[in-house]
């Protein structure tokens, strides 16, 4: 992110804080950098863009706690896509949200192999984009390598990767799209407690199946994984299939209903937005 873009962003946030109850963004202090709710009068020199955190989850938390408040969010393309899928599952209310979009640079897009490095403001009731949107980056080369593998090689590849899993549940905990009230990964019927590595391949495939039509490629799971499992390869492949088979692109369009619903009566998602 260039210094000029950040300066422009801070000026826009200052302006918006006059009318909004707060803006969710990253704040850097001497303690480090973390998500924060900026309010009118806060020191906006502390507003930064790195490192990335799942800010959409913070918006959901705040909107649920304060049902009348109007918040803003400083959102990259991935944050915006996460918000789209959350809105469809009633985890956020787009009508009470101002999207201060920021276009990622070509370098940042490349770093994430991101196909969609700027928020699409068209679909949001109130939004803008700061910075010059760039073209999407080519996909992770590991996906093409994987596709050259035989079935046996693929199985061996994932067996080796999943063997490293320490079941920290960090991939689930950090994911903005993981908001089921009861998680199958905590159900002893599916996942035996106290056993490492988790049952191959069920543990990771349960999560993958639940991510179908939800994963917006924000990479938070892969970045937080202490075992360095290339989770985005799994989810890229999954998104490919969801696109090919179901014609669905998660995070792309607020108006298109997701093709897969996991909101079964015996597996309710968290309290819906008021």
């Amino acid at each position: 992110m260039t210094e000029n873009t950040i300066k422009e962003l801070r000026a826009h946030v200052a302006e918006k804080l006059k009318e909004l109850d707060g803006v969710v963004a990253l704040r850097r202090t001497t303690e480090g950098t973390a998500p924060h709710l900026f309010q009118d009068g806060d020191d906006l020199a502390q507003l930064v863009m790195e490192p990335r955190y799942p800010l959409a989850s913070v918006v959901s938390l705040l909107q649920k706690r304060f049902p009348k408040a109007r918040f803003g969010i400083v959102a990259r393309g991935c944050d915006s896509r996460a918000l789209v899928e959350m809105a469809k599952r009633e985890q956020i209310d787009p009508d009470r949200l101002y999207l201060l979009g920021v276009a990622c640079t070509a370098g940042e897009a490349q770093e994430c192999y991101c196909a969609d490095p700027a928020p699409d403001t068209e679909q949001w009731p109130a939004a803008e984009v700061i910075g010059e949107p760039v073209e999407g980056a080519p996909p992770n080369p590991m996906v093409a390598e994987y596709e050259q593998m035989s079935l046996e090689e693929r199985r061996a590849f994932w067996r080796q990767q999943f063997l490293k899993c320490i079941k920290c549940y960090g991939c689930r905990d950090i994911c903005p799209e993981c908001f089921c009230e009861a998680c199958s990964l905590e159900d002893p019927l599916w996942v035996e407690r106290g056993v490492l590595a988790p049952d191959f391949p069920m543990f990771h495939l349960i999560r993958a199946m639940h991510m179908a039509s939800r994963c917006v490629a924000c990479r938070q799971c892969e970045l937080t994984c202490p075992a360095h499992i290339p989770l985005t390869v799994l989810y890229d492949l999954l998104r490919q299939d969801v696109g090919k088979i179901l014609g669905y692109d998660p995070g792309a369009d607020l108006e298109v209903a997701p093709p897969i619903s996991l909101s079964l009566e015996d597996a309710p998602i968290k309290a819906k937005i008021v």
Binding site: Q39, L62, C168, D173
Partner: protein
């Protein structure tokens, strides 16, 4: 209306991973890893992710308890420490310093654990010092 992240260090082992507690209007509502932390670098184990679970847990002990004839009863710190000193002293005098041992904790700081071994070696005169991971 206040949402902020409070930096702390995981108390579950000696690694010292960085954890943020998400605090909403004074209440801990979640955990986030510290991405710029030199040790944990944005990762946590399952204990780290759940580290604030005990903070407001209804079963959390907030005062010392002393077991008396009618069961466990609330005690002051002075009462509890006085009783421990009295009993430890009596056991040592009767059976010698090596009849007691001290277990340090990963939940404490280095300095606190230093003081515990100092108490063990210099006051009680035993080298029976170990840590909670071998409990």
């Amino acid at each position: 209306m206040e949402y902020k992240n409070v930096l702390t260090t995981c108390v579950y082992c000696g690694c010292g991973c960085g954890v943020y507690f998400e605090v909403l209007d004074g209440e801990i509502v979640g955990t986030l890893p510290v991405k710029e932390h030199p040790i944990s670098r944005g990762s946590l184990c399952i204990k780290g992710w759940n580290v604030p679970a005990f903070v407001n847990h209804p079963e959390r002990l907030k005062t010392p308890l002393i077991r008396r004839e009618d069961g466990l009863g609330v005690a002051t710190w002075d009462e509890a420490l006085g009783l421990i000193a009295e009993k430890l002293g009596a056991i040592r005098d009767e059976s010698g310093p090596d009849s007691v041992g001290f277990l340090a904790s990963a939940k404490c700081t280095n300095e606190e654990n230093y003081l515990l071994q100092k108490l063990s070696r210099a006051v009680v005169k035993t080298n029976n010092v170990d840590h909670c991971a071998r409990l």
